[in-house]
Symmetry: C2
Subunit: 309 residues, 2 copies
């Protein structure tokens, strides 16, 4: 019998208890799953960075911390965390992100807002170009960025991608490194941000980067709020360099009511709901990782603590 601590907001346990017990049973794991354990006997921590557990020192027997979130920036540099940390790579989250990014890319591509707002009896007959004439750039080619880029390519968009280190992904023209950023962004009409939040990626979409895009480009950010320089974005939507930005993530969440993004006609605020971890599929990932660890196999999705993701 292994002891698994569920350390997340209490309402999450209502969502996760049954899926986790089901997944443990499927993997043949006999677990004592609870939201409260003596720290000294805990074998694994299923973890959300906003839980009350912020000091990992007492968990002396803990073999791994299994994050419920894809993003680890608020736990990866915790100095008390000496245990291995695994990111969540949930196919449900990936699929939800593909649907959200594809939907908003098509919304901007087709100019849907004109009709959603404009039910005024005016017969507007502008027809948009085809996707093949609408270049898209995805910043970030991890699990999420690669999947979204490939879905957009499948629909006919010419897709470029950019990542810190070199990648090769079917259907995506890949750029990398500091010197690859400008060519990746050059004349793009839609840019999608799906980078991790690291010191290197903070403010990566600033005035200089936005100036590379085609005039009247669209920004879609379901990644992290810190990726965008907010003041530069406001200047760019005001000048028309950016026609519209759809933002799902912000430096402060919930986004304060008086933040200028809410009222701006060229910015759509979405309340961090682009996608989320799905209990069924995420529980399977956690159970699989515990089973691997118990069998002495390497953890899946182990975080590189020096890279920060």
């Amino acid at each position: 019998m292994i002891n698994v601590l569920f350390a997340a907001l209490s309402e999450r346990f209502e969502q996760y208890e049954i899926p986790l017990r089901t997944a443990f049973a499927q993997e043949g794991i006999s677990a004592n799953l609870a939201t409260d354990h003596d720290p000294a006997v805990v074998d694994y921590i299923v973890y959300a960075p906003n839980s009350s557990v912020q000091d990992f020192t007492p968990y002396t027997q803990c073999k791994a911390v299994l994050n419920l979130w894809a993003g680890v920036e608020s736990v990866v540099f915790n100095p008390t965390l000496t245990q291995p940390l695994a990111r969540m790579v949930d196919e449900g989250l990936t699929q939800g992100m593909v649907e959200w990014v594809t939907g908003h890319a098509l919304r901007h591509h087709l100019g849907m807002d004109t009709h959603i707002h404009g039910q005024d009896g005016v017969w507007r007959t502008h027809v948009p170009p085809l996707a093949k004439d609408r270049p898209v750039t995805v910043l970030g080619l991890g699990q999420l960025g690669a999947a979204c880029g490939q879905a957009l390519a499948q629909l006919g968009f010419p897709v470029r991608g950019w990542s810190k280190s070199a990648k090769s992904i079917d259907g995506i023209t890949c750029y990398h490194g500091a010197e690859g950023l400008k060519p990746a962004l050059k004349d793009a009409q839609i840019v999608v941000l799906l980078l991790p939040n690291t010191p290197d990626t903070e403010n990566i979409l600033d005035a200089d980067a936005m100036a590379q895009l085609a005039h009247g480009a669209f920004v879609i950010n379901p990644g992290r709020g810190m990726l965008i320089n907010d003041d530069d974005l406001l200047a760019a939507v005001n000048s028309g360099q950016i026609a519209h930005a759809t933002l799902d993530v912000f430096r402060v969440e919930p986004l304060p009511v008086d933040h200028p993004f809410w009222a701006h006609p060229s910015i759509t605020v979405v309340p961090h709901k682009a996608s989320e971890t799905r209990p069924d599929t995420a529980s399977q990932v956690i159970a699989r990782n515990i089973r691997r660890c118990e069998n002495g196999e390497p953890l899946l999705f182990l975080v590189d603590r020096s890279a920060g993701y």
Copy 2:
């Protein structure tokens, strides 16, 4: 030298003249292309049903009428038309339709309008289900319906399709005939109409058909206005049986300003712009068909005059 009459609204000739001449040259066709010819010497008519040519009797030497539109209902039963009639099957039109249908299906699936309209500072955190849990039914499995259904299946939606006669299409569970309609619609959450306009399909989406759908379903009609019983649709959006309808086509176009669809909060009127024939790709289809006819080969996309499409 063959004589090709371009019979469409005059502004179309400005769009089509160069693409048609280019396509004729590529197919090795030496053509005298004009908007005005002595009817007795015309070999082919490139035709839009809203052109001034409504009497085909004087075109005694005409070998084929090549429609610029996918829909032929306003020409196919013209009693003066004795020449073979070809529909337009334009890959540009198909691709544009796939983009439009996929975009609006995702818009409704994701509940985008809540955020597009609701920039009021309220942090709404509802997350939609995944596409795999959102059944879609496509009525009509011709070139357009099949392509749209397959694109939606590719994104993860479970897709059923319905057509008059039996079809088999990868990724789509196919139903057909009068007895297949109800099982095709049963519990669908999104229904897409891409049927031809025939006496059999008029009012196919009526109160009975809408009652088969899941409560709160979405209707997307880029096909033909006559496919929907307008009064039944208004009753269904008022009762909540249909959560929202996005309509691109109407019985009268432009839709009159005082039509109740314009003002209804659960109906989005789009001014017949879901997709249109693209001059470059459509001209290639027309040139290829003229070349085939000159070589004694059968016409592509020949209309079955008895079926009406």
